[in-house]
């Protein structure tokens, strides 16, 4: 029996535009900590190999120091390290995989065509690399190994709607936005996903001599992020609404998502429109679940305020825009501070 610890989407040195520079730095540090945790986990599981299935790093932003640290981390692993470059870290001679000082036990697939690495008598690993950022048609190798199991490794072959079809006599290991484990196919989720997703998810693969493969999801490292749901329905004043948001933001862990739900009362302005500063950039506000209260103008009244409400309610605008226009208009019509 052979063990491999498979991960994808470590995303070393990648940019995190949604959380600003400070949050980005923290996120990149987390990526490095997760990588170290992965190596440690592989060592703890006595894995023969560490399998990196795509997007180990971002080739557009990877820093040389990080490549050096990465090579050192791989060199510290007693087994083999197999790297299948993916769409973010596709291989080229001038890229980090082509120019880095990699340990002899670190094997990086360099071509689109599958290249075989025999780890032992019971396990053959055939890998394929992305050699450009654009997707390429994959020709899965035919035929199983004469003995033991065969892994076919190529990154980025699954998405939320589809997974690659199974290949007889082989087990496909690929990556996608979410994890899915099927007989004959393992889809790895990113080790460090987008903000809001769970980090540190890996899969321990066990290849048996009879060619069978078992899959075991494991979690490595600590993921401090959380999703905080704030229901603003009871908050009828701007002060209470802002207080609720401020409290949620202040208590959130780094990389958390503040999901604002419920119904936003009439006259209340979202932070972007009121000028209210959240004070943190390492958390993400999610208003996608928020409903917006709709004003009900007095049918008998015919003043400007009522006409304004009638007019904006009939306007072809998104709910958020319509609601914020009403709030601003009412603020203008009422006694200003």
């Amino acid at each position: 029996m052979s063990k491999l610890l498979a991960v994808s989407g470590v995303g070393l040195d990648r940019a995190w535009p949604s959380i600003g520079v400070h949050g980005g730095r923290q996120r990149r540090a987390l990526a490095q900590r997760l990588l170290v945790a992965v190596v440690a986990a592989a060592r703890a599981e006595n894995a023969e190999a560490l399998l990196i299935v795509g997007d180990l790093l971002d080739r557009r932003t990877i820093m040389p120091k990080t490549v050096t640290l990465l090579a050192g981390a791989f060199a510290s692993f007693p087994g083999r390290v197999l790297v299948a470059p993916g769409p973010r870290d596709w291989h080229s001679a001038n890229g980090p995989f082509g120019t880095g000082d990699w340990d002899k036990d670190t094997h990086i697939w360099q071509t689109t065509a599958f290249d075989a690495i025999r780890l032992n008598d019971s396990l053959l690993v055939q890998g394929s690399a992305w050699t450009s950022a654009s997707a390429q048609t994959v020709l899965w190798p035919e035929g199983a190994a004469e003995r033991g199991a065969t892994f076919l490794v190529r990154a980025g072959q699954a998405d939320d709607e589809r997974s690659p079809e199974s290949v007889p006599g082989a087990h496909i290991v690929t990556s996608g936005p979410s994890m899915s484990l099927h007989p004959g196919c393992t889809v790895l989720a990113p080790l460090l996903p987008e903000i809001g997703g769970q980090a540190g998810r890996a899969v321990l693969l066990e290849a048996h001599e009879d060619g069978q493969v078992s899959q075991q999801p494991i979690v490595v490292g600590d993921d401090p992020s959380e999703t905080i749901v704030v229901d603003v329905t009871p908050d009828r004043t701007q002060a209470r609404f802002e207080s609720a948001i401020r409290s949620a933001v202040a208590g959130a862990s780094p990389f958390s998502v503040i999901q604002v739900t419920g119904t936003l009362a009439n006259g209340l302005l979202l932070p972007n429109y009121s000028g209210f500063e959240l004070g943190r950039t390492d958390v993400v506000m999610d208003y996608s679940q928020l409903q917006f209260e709709s004003p009900e103008p007095n049918h008998a009244a015919q003043d400007t305020r009522t006409e304004f409400l009638r007019g904006i309610l009939g306007a072809d605008e998104p709910d958020e825009v319509r609601h914020q226009v009403v709030a601003l208009g009412l603020r203008a019509l009422e006694a200003q501070e």
Binding site: R14, T304, V325, L328
Partner: protein, 1015 residues
């Protein structure tokens, strides 16, 4: 809704006081300081409560508190009992100090929960978190104050501010809060837009700042990306260069192996040579050469012998003794001039020139002058001769035409005299005819005067005999025209009289002017004079007078002016003057000739011009010869003086050269003596000049004689030296012929010995070089080591191994240097490399900020657009509604002065229609009318803005103070009528209002409440 009672537990001056209000109309009256305004405020506070103040509260809150907090005691409480349209009574007990309020059911005294009551009524009852009774009406405490509570200040503002009505309407049209206009709201939005967004191209507002931030972030991101790309390229180049260095290092290593192989071969060769040299040096034995000094001495002596040449010969020519004798015989150099001095020679030449000039001058013969005999001078004689020979001037040829020209002029003068006679006759005839005309004219004037007199009488007869005759033409201008006629006649007469004494032309002019005046007078008189044929026949038998016939002026033509007299001819006069001048000149010439002849004769000379001129020339020549003789003598004296001077100069020059002129010798002989002495000294000097040449010849001769003596001694010395050396070397024989061959053989033997000794030294040097400080054993050990290093495999060593190894080494070193440089550069770049991810995040952050500002701008833009549209729609709606409400009341409260009212939907301007149908701007009306329209507007708004089923009461404080009694009564009647379905509370101090109330108000619907003064 109606207010049943107000409980002023602690409010302003009140403590535990109540005010009951009727459901219809209540008039609360009292003098000043009776508490009317305090009750007005208490009603407002009891109904609407008070906003809970934050900190010190707003200015209006502070003013309200200062005015109406209890004057004494604690607490600040006021309550109201409200009766809703459904009959339910609710009591509101407000604690104005903390904003609290207790709601109770006034029927049973049970406290009511706010939320429960709100749920029951279906709308909120709070404003700014405190209970607000205006909410029962769909208003709030602000809008209630602006509509149903009408204070004195409100009316005063409407009266003092022309635009207050319009602005108030705009506020009402905007919202039921009636505290802001739509325009103000739009301005607030615009201000927010300026502050929070700004414009894209200028300033530092958020939009521009965000755009600049994005621009800078993008530029920085591009720069960092470029640096990153360059860094990656450098890394790739580093890898290539490392490969190149490895290749170069391998090439050097291969060549170095070959070099070791070559070194081994070389060492083996060295060892063989060392062994051979050692052996040669050990066997080599040679005689030592003689001392090098002796060898050089023998060699030098032999060379001197070979090079001694022939035996030296003695010098020829005069000996040194001969030359010394010649020197002793030479004379000394003389003193004095060797040749004549140039000064002396020049003085001599000047002396000779002067003597020559004197002798030449003296050789010329000059004759003595002969005197001429005449008392006249030569010039006078020549003048007399010229006068005698003088000729008269030639006449002008034009003078020849003068007679014919005189004849023509006389003919013209005769013709003129005849024409003048004819003209005089014609003038006489013309003058006679005009005198006759003047007589006729005077007769006509007399007849006309008579006619006019007769015609006037005729008219008078007609008037007397019959009805008024037709009105004759007015005699306008008659008198002035008669005056013209008279002036014309006078002019003609004067003209005719003038003809007698003056020029005819002047006379004719005066007559013509008189005629013109006469004709003008006559013509102008015609229309005024009744024409005889047009005169109507009188009804009587009297015949009208006959008008005189006007006389006609004479028809004889004016003879005009007299014919012109012929003009005197200027050319005739000019020619005559020329002829007269020529005659006078001829006469003067003749007189001069006669005078000259008389003068000659007077001097005893014949009046012959030639003789006179000859005599004049003779007189001139005698003078010239005398002058020349005098000049010759003066010149000779000058030349003699020059000769004396030149001789004196020569003598002095000779004296200066040491030559004295002896008496009787003369300067010329003295000069000869001086010249001879010079020549003698010249000969002596030439002999003395040979001394330097002889002295030089003597010095050279002495040198030659000395050299010869030395050469002869050296020639003899070589032989002696050779013989002495041969003796020292113990050679056989005592002659030079014996010694020389032996000495030469000895020298050759010594050279062979020296060569052999040099060869041995060279071999020893080569051996040292081969050993290079090592022993032969050490060389053998090194060979063994090399053999081990090279191994058994041997390759062909190329001939150019050295250059190839040098080249390969250079390439390797260059590659290593470049690699080191590139590594250094990469290290620097890596150190300076900014994380690309960070700049992407900075860029994204800037873009998020910009997007946020743009979204805010978009929302504000939509809000402004909808607010503008809503304002227009609201104004278009509320304007006719308010006008429709107010219009029926207007004629009643204005006593029919204004019958209708409109409100413009665009600008909410109010216009009223007067009794004549004209429309007038409400802001331009009298205070009383404006006040009434304002009250109507508040009544109308109270009806219009209340959005619940409740009917809003109206509370009015002294709102009729500016109205005249008639309008006040009319307004009170309207209010009373309205109070049938809307509670009216009126606070007043006007007696006429009180009297009206006491007469018209009927309990229990109405109530009159007197207040006692508190002062």
């Amino acid at each position: 809704m109606k207010i049943e009672r107000i409980d002023a537990d602690a409010f302003g001056p009140f403590r535990k006081e109540t005010l009951d209000l009727a459901p219809g109309m209540t008039v609360v009256h009292g003098p000043n300081e009776a508490g009317k305004s305090s009750w007005f405020a208490a009603v407002y506070a009891a109904m609407c409560g008070r906003r809970r103040a934050r900190g010190r509260g707003t200015v209006s809150q502070r003013i309200f508190k200062a005015r109406h907090k209890p004057w004494r005691g604690g607490g600040w409480r006021v309550g109201a009992t409200l009766v809703l349209e459904n009959g339910r009574k609710i009591h509101l007990a407000h604690n104005l100090r903390d904003g609290g309020c207790v709601l109770t059911d006034a029927a049973d005294g049970h406290e009511l929960g706010l939320e429960q009551l709100e749920a029951e009524l279906g709308h909120e009852l709070t404003t700014s978190a405190t209970v607000d009774g205006a909410r029962f009406l769909g208003l709030n405490r602000d809008s209630a104050r602006a509509t149903i509570f009408v204070g004195q200040g409100d009316v005063l503002r409407a009266l003092n501010e022309a635009s207050e009505l319009q602005e108030y309407l705009q506020r009402a049209a905007t919202s039921n809060t009636v505290d802001i206009t739509a325009q103000q709201a739009l301005m607030w939005l615009a201000e927010q837009r300026r502050e929070r967004i700004g414009v894209a191209h200028v300033g530092s507002r958020p939009l521009r700042s965000a755009m600049l931030e994005v621009e800078q972030a993008r530029a920085e991101a591009d720069r960092v990306r470029d640096n990153y790309g360059a860094f990656q390229d450098a890394i790739a180049g580093l890898r290539r260069m490392q490969t190149d260095l490895s290749v170069a290092q391998e090439a050097v290593a291969g060549l170095e192996r070959l070099a070791l192989q070559a070194d081994l071969a070389s060492l083996e060769g060295r060892i063989v040579q060392v062994v051979a040299l050692t052996k040669d040096l050990e066997t080599a034995v040679a005689d030592a050469p003689a001392a090098s000094a002796l060898v050089r001495e023998v060699s030098t002596a032999l060379d001197a012998h070979r090079n001694r040449g022939d035996e030296p010969l003695a010098p020829t020519g005069p000996s040194s003794d001969d030359l010394r004798a010649q020197l002793a015989a030479l004379p000394l150099h003389p003193t004095g001039d060797l040749e004549a001095s140039t000064d002396v020679v020049a003085a001599l030449e000047r002396s000779r020139d002067a003597e020559t000039a004197l002798s030449t001058h003296s050789s010329v013969v000059v004759l003595a002058p002969v005197a001429a005999s005449s008392s006249l001078s030569a010039d006078e004689l020549r003048e007399i001769a010229a006068a005698i020979d003088a000729e008269p001037p030639a006449p002008d040829p034009r003078v020849e035409n003068l007679p014919s020209m005189r004849d023509e002029h006389e003919t013209a003068v005769s013709a003129h005299a005849e024409a003048l006679d004819r003209h005089t006759s014609a003038v006489d005839a013309y003058r006679a005819e005009h005198e006759a005309y003047a007589g006729r004219l005077r007769a006509y004037e007399a007849s006309r005067v008579e006619y006019e007199t007769a015609y006037a009488a005729y008219q008078e007869n007609r008037a007397a005999a019959k009805a008024p005759p037709p009105k004759p033409a007015p005699p306008t201008g008659r008198r002035p025209k008669l005056l013209l006629v008279a002036m014309g006649v006078f002019g003609i007469v004067i003209g005719l009289l003038l003809l007698i004494w003056f020029h005819p032309a002047t006379t004719v002019t005066v007559v013509l002017v008189g005629l013109a005046l006469l004709i003008a007078g006559l013509v102008g008189s015609k229309p005024t004079a009744p024409p005889p044929v047009a005169t109507p026949s009188p009804p009587t038998e009297v015949a009208p007078p006959q008008a005189p016939t006007p006389v006609r002026p004479p028809e004889t033509a004016d003879p005009g002016s007299a014919p012109p007299a012929p003009q005197p001819r200027a050319d005739i006069a000019s020619l005559q003057a020329i002829q007269d001048a020529w005659v006078q000149m001829c006469e003067r010439v003749e007189r001069k000739r006669e005078d000259a002849a008389a003068k000659a004769r007077g001097a005893g000379l014949a009046p012959d011009s030639a003789e006179l001129r000859q005599l004049a020339r003779s007189i001139d020549s005698v003078g010239e010869e005398t002058r020349r003789s005098l000049e010759f003598e003066a010149r000779r004296n000058d030349l003699q003086a020059a000769v004396d001077s030149a001789r004196s100069v020569l003598r002095e020059a000779l004296m200066l050269r040491g030559v004295s002129v002896d008496a009787g010798e003369g300067e010329a002989l003295a000069f000869e003596r001086y010249s001879r002495a010079c020549r003698e000294r010249q000969v002596q000097a030439a002999a003395a000049a040979r001394r330097p040449d002889l002295e030089e010849s003597l010095r050279l001769r002495v040198e030659r004689e000395t050299a010869h003596a030395e050469a002869a001694a050296a020639y003899a010395s070589t032989k002696k030296t050779l013989l002495e050396l041969a003796a020292r070397l113990d050679f056989e024989g005592a002659t030079l012929a014996d010694a020389i061959p032996q000495l030469e053989r000895w020298i050759s033997g010594q050279e062979a010995r020296r060569v052999a000794e040099g060869d041995q030294r060279e071999q020893a040097g080569r051996l040292d070089e081969m050993l290079d400080g090592k022993s032969i054993d050490e060389l053998i050990a090194a060979r063994e080591l090399l053999r081990h290093a090279v191994g058994e495999v041997r390759e062909d060593v190329p001939d150019d191994l050295g250059p190839r190894l040098d080249l390969a080494t250079q390439r390797r070193d260059a590659a290593a240097t470049r690699l080191a440089q590139l590594e250094g550069q990469i290290a620097e770049k890596a150190a300076a490399l900014r994380p690309v991810a960070e700049v992407i995040e900075v860029e994204a952050e800037a873009e998020r900020k910009l997007e946020a500002v743009q979204k805010l701008a978009r929302v504000m833009e939509i809000a402004e657009a909808h607010l503008t549209s809503a304002k227009d729609r609201a104004q278009a709606t509320i304007a006719p509604a308010l006008a429709q409400t107010m219009a029926p009341w207007l004629p009643r409260i204005t006593d029919g002065r204004y019958g209708d009212l409109t409100i413009n939907a665009d600008d909410l301007m109010i216009e009223v229609q007067d009794a004549e149908g004209g429309w007038r701007d409400a802001t331009l009306l009298s205070h009383g009318t404006t006040e009434q329209i304002y009250i109507l507007l508040r009544l109308s708004l109270a009806q219009h803005l209340a959005t619940t089923d409740e009917v809003a009461p109206m509370i009015l404080d002294d709102v009729t103070v500016h109205s005249d009694p008639g309008r006040t009564i009319a307004l009170l009647d309207v209010l009373h009528e309205l109070s049938r379905h809307r509670q009216i509370v009126l606070f007043t101090q006007e007696q006429e209002v009180v009297e009206w109330a006491e007469q018209r108000l009927q309990p229990p619907l109405d109530l009159v409440v007197p207040l006692v003064g508190r002062r």
